[in-house]
Each structure stands twice: as C-alpha cells, then as structure tokens.
C-alpha cells in the first residue's frame, strides 16, 4: 500500500550540495555507508568530513560520540533509509543523551539502491520521521521541498538539537565514489577536527 505523502521527491546530489553550502562553522559531517557518503564527497571534500566504509548503520552513533566529544562543534550525520532501519535503537539513544549540537539528515529513497534497488520498509509502511518522534526526537520533520530542507537545516544547525530532517529522494546514483582508504579518511578527518596534528 502506497502511503499518502506530500513531500517532494528530490535529487540527492542537489540536496547534498545545499547541505554543504549551509555549513558555515566547520561542522563535522559523518557520511553513512554507500551512496550517503558518496553524496557528501560528491558535494566537495571538506576536512571535517568522515566517509564510512562498512559498519552499516553507524553514522548516527559515530556522530553522537563526536557531538559529545566536541560540544562546541555542530555535527551532522547523513544516513540512508536502509542503514537507519538497521540501527533504529540509535535514535532512542540520541534522544535520551540529547546532544544539543547533533543533526541527522535522512536520505530516503525507499530502496537499497546500491545493491540493485530492492525496496526497504519505507517503500510500503515505515515512516522514519514518525519513528524518530516515537524514539523521543521531538524535533523531527520531513522536508516538503528544497527550500523547506534549507529552512529546517538552518534551524537545526542553530540548535539546540538534537534534530532530524527526513528527505525523500529519487532513485538515482551518485556521480562520484569516495576513496577506499579507511585509515587515511580517519587521519584526514582528525586533522580537520584538530584532534591530530600534522608531522
């Protein structure tokens, strides 16, 4: 059964570009496994970006830990619907710990796009924003369109959070792939955060 939704189906690369363009304070971005981090990388590499290669579902937990370690820095987790469905408990943990500097952006294409477009539960029944609200994330909303996404994002970044923004995206593939070098990605990220210094 298709659900009645009044949210626009948007383009993932366009949304990633809008997200990165709104970051003005060296916010950290955790790009979830697969297309989510390809989108973040595709929008232009920043030293404060972390790209996941495995550990599906952990963008939100990694962002939560970082938000606790650096309470003065805004932290954004960008996660897909398939990944978030794998770690729904993390939404309850975030709500309970309640870091003021954490924003979660969900890119929901209702499919495991990277493995051939098999439908996720959001294609038929599940609503991730309702799930987030039920987990206790009261500042959770679907973005109706691109300008609504930017409005919600600016609000979320201004805080206090935690906040979750749901976006519905079309089933397209990202333009670029992130380099597959986990230790280098971590080192570059820590240099960008100032928690590691160059030689």
């Amino acid at each position: 059964m298709a659900m009645l939704r009044n949210t626009k189906i948007m383009d993932r690369a366009d949304l990633a570009g809008r997200l990165i363009a709104r970051l003005r304070h060296d916010e950290a971005v955790i790009g979830g496994i697969g297309y989510a981090n390809f989108d973040v990388f595709g929008a232009g590499h920043r030293p404060q970006n972390f790209y996941m290669l495995g550990s599906m579902g952990l963008a939100v937990p990694i962002a939560l830990g970082l938000a606790l370690a650096q309470p003065q820095r805004g932290v954004v987790a960008v996660e897909g619907d398939g990944s978030l469905l794998m770690q729904l408990g993390s939404l309850a943990t975030v709500a309970s710990v309640a870091p003021a500097n954490l924003t979660i952006v969900v890119l929901d294409n209702a499919a495991y796009q990277i493995t051939g477009g098999q439908p996720t539960a959001t294609a038929s029944a599940a609503d991730l924003v309702e799930i987030a609200r039920g987990a206790g994330l009261v500042k959770s909303a679907w973005a109706a369109d691109e300008s609504d996404f930017e409005r919600l994002l600016v609000e979320a970044l201004a805080g206090p959070g935690p906040s979750l923004i749901g976006t519905r995206i079309a089933p397209s593939a990202p333009q670029r792939q992130t380099p597959r070098e986990p230790a280098r990605i971590k080192d570059a990220f820590m240099l960008g955060l100032g928690t590691k210094s160059p030689f």
Binding site: L58, G65, Q70, T93, P182, L193
Partner: protein, 176 residues
C-alpha cells in the same frame, strides 16, 4: 560471591587505570557482573556514561568520540561481543581507532546456559583473527597493571584492545 572482598572490589583498579589513561566516556549494554563498575562510573563526575541499545552502536559512539578527542570504553557481555565482528573489522581496525572493549565473560567456569557456553567459544578466535590485542583479567592484584598497560598501548599504537573479565576475578554470574 559479594562477601568475598577481592571479588567485590575488582572495579576499583579498573577505574583507576581508566582515569590514568584519560578515559572519560563509558558506553555499555549492561550485564549483572558489570554492575559494580557501571554503578561506580555513573556516580563519578569524571565519567560520562550511558547505555546504548546495541553493542555495535556503542562501538560507533566510542569511535566517534575518540576521533573527536575523547577517549572511551565499551562495556558488554560475551554474547554482545559476538555481534561485533563487522564493526570491529570495518570501522575500528580498518580506521585504526583505539576503542577499548571490556567484556564480562560468560559461558565458562560454571555456565548454566548452553547458548552462552557456545558463543563464548567464538570470542577469542574473533579477536585473534582481527589481530586485536586482548587480555583476560583473572587476579585482582594484576588488574590495574593490565588495564593500564593495555589502554596505554591501545592509545599509543592507535589500535583497539579488549579486556576480558574472567569469573575468576569477578565471581561470574551465580549459577541459575
């Protein structure tokens, strides 16, 4: 078991060693044996501690904190460790993030649950196959040294480390 002073005090040297190594974040999925440690860190303002819904979530949280400059440890039971092979391989080992793991060992020395006994047999082979340094804590007088040195090595080498709490140290879970 709690009338044995050795077995009721094992958490104190653990806390001293964690503090000596600047560990401030404790994320756990609880276990009966861990109770004295969980209670002590919750009561100590040096630590930020809370429960995660799953062990791999806890590893992600501590990994994120670690990259942000805050050292942390994940506390769990043997059965929870068994859910971690993928996240350890793909996040913690691959990225070289010094996440500390402390595992309350069930499934040996008096276990009553056959499932626990079986899953316990997978723990050390998984740690060995991922080349994760691990030590089993069995004696109170060695505990502070082992936790301190294992943590120190983890942070110096930027690699994870696992500390296994043997029933010989903690008394284990009373037989059901």
């Amino acid at each position: 078991m709690s009338d044995n002073p050795q077995r009721s005090a094992w958490h104190e040297p653990v806390i001293r060693a964690l503090k000596a190594n600047g560990v401030r974040l404790v994320v756990y999925v609880p276990d009966n044996v861990l109770r004295p440690l969980l209670g002590a860190v919750a009561a100590d303002p040096h630590f930020t501690s809370f429960a995660a819904a799953r062990e791999e979530e806890a590893v992600g949280i501590v990994a994120g904190a670690c990259m942000g400059g805050m050292r942390g440890i994940v506390l769990m039971q043997t059965s929870g460790f068994a859910t971690l092979a993928n996240v350890l391989a793909s996040l913690v080992v691959a990225c070289q993030i010094p996440v500390l793991l402390m595992i309350s060992e069930r499934g040996t020395l008096g276990e009553f649950n056959p499932g626990q006994a079986l899953v316990c047999r997978t723990m050390r082979p998984v740690l060995d196959s991922l080349a994760i340094e691990h030590h089993t804590l069995t004696r109170l007088h060695e505990t502070e040294f082992m936790v301190d040195r294992a943590a120190r090595q983890a942070f110096q080498t930027q690699m994870p480390a696992a500390l296994i709490l043997s029933p010989m140290l903690t008394g284990g879970k009373p037989s059901g």
